[in-house]
Symmetry: C2
Subunit: 125 residues, 2 copies
DNA sequence: TGACATACCTCATGCTTTGATGTATACTGC
DNA sequence: GCAGTATACATCAAAGCATGAGGTATGTCA
């Protein structure tokens, strides 16, 4: 995962598989499209490098959390389409719980963060 | 950082320095006590291994974000007490913002997580 | 004497991201 | 035809960080 604006990328160490599973929850998708979808959903805050993407997909498949099939197109290169397995769906729920625990634990340590949103435009002068 | 119940530990890759700075915001503390404080605040969810703790402290000191002094006790081994610098305090604010952006980005991807708290005891039965 | 807690430090190992490189197809502009 | 860009897969060396074990030393308790 590479950063866009700040240094979010290197903070991602173990979270990439969770993102992949989460995107596949909404239906099968091929690798390249998964990466694009993560960018889109995160509003370009996260960007998945191919050196992270493909190894992570292979690992998830070896663990039985996703399955793949090759799909040829009338035009363009073949795609490897991934789908969530039942095991993978269950694992996603676990990992989302784990994510919540993780966030809670960190925020317990760093203290309450005031949830003040920065206004997008110059509303006050 | 090592896990306690689940596998929170390995998810921490780049967040340890932020935790250290956050704990030192409330006053100087020696390394070992910082680790204990992180455990206490996170309700034992996070545990900082010494192989993570001491290298991270050294890096932060080299970056000028914290300073240290040795302190001898009437009884027991000497302690290295760390304190936040002004630069460190400013950096902490940056990293807390970065943390918020990170959490937001991940949750944008994995979807809304219902914030339902598990009751601690057996209130219904 | 042994076990345990405090308190510092180092190091091999392993996992994951980064960033570059490689292959191939298809479209666009020159 | 050729260069540039986008799609779409894959691999690999290098670097970063946590893990877990090991080492040193002091102090307390049984």
């Amino acid at each position: 995962m590479r950063p866009r604006n700040t240094e979010l990328g290197e903070l991602l160490k173990g979270h990439t598989p969770t993102l992949l599973l989460a995107v596949l929850r909404d239906g099968p998708l091929h690798g390249y499209a998964i990466a694009r979808e993560i960018e889109r959903r995160s509003k370009e805050a996260l960007r998945l490098g191919e050196g992270s993407l493909y190894p992570a997909l292979r690992t998830l498949e070896q663990e039985g959390l996703i399955i793949s099939r090759w799909e040829t197109q009338p035009a363009g290169p073949a795609r490897k389409v991934y789908a969530l397995t039942e095991t993978g769906a269950a694992e996603l729920i676990k990992r989302m719980r784990s994510w919540r625990d993780f966030v809670q634990a960190i925020e317990d340590v760093i203290g309450g963060i005031p949830h003040v949103q920065q206004p997008t435009g110059t509303l006050s002068g």
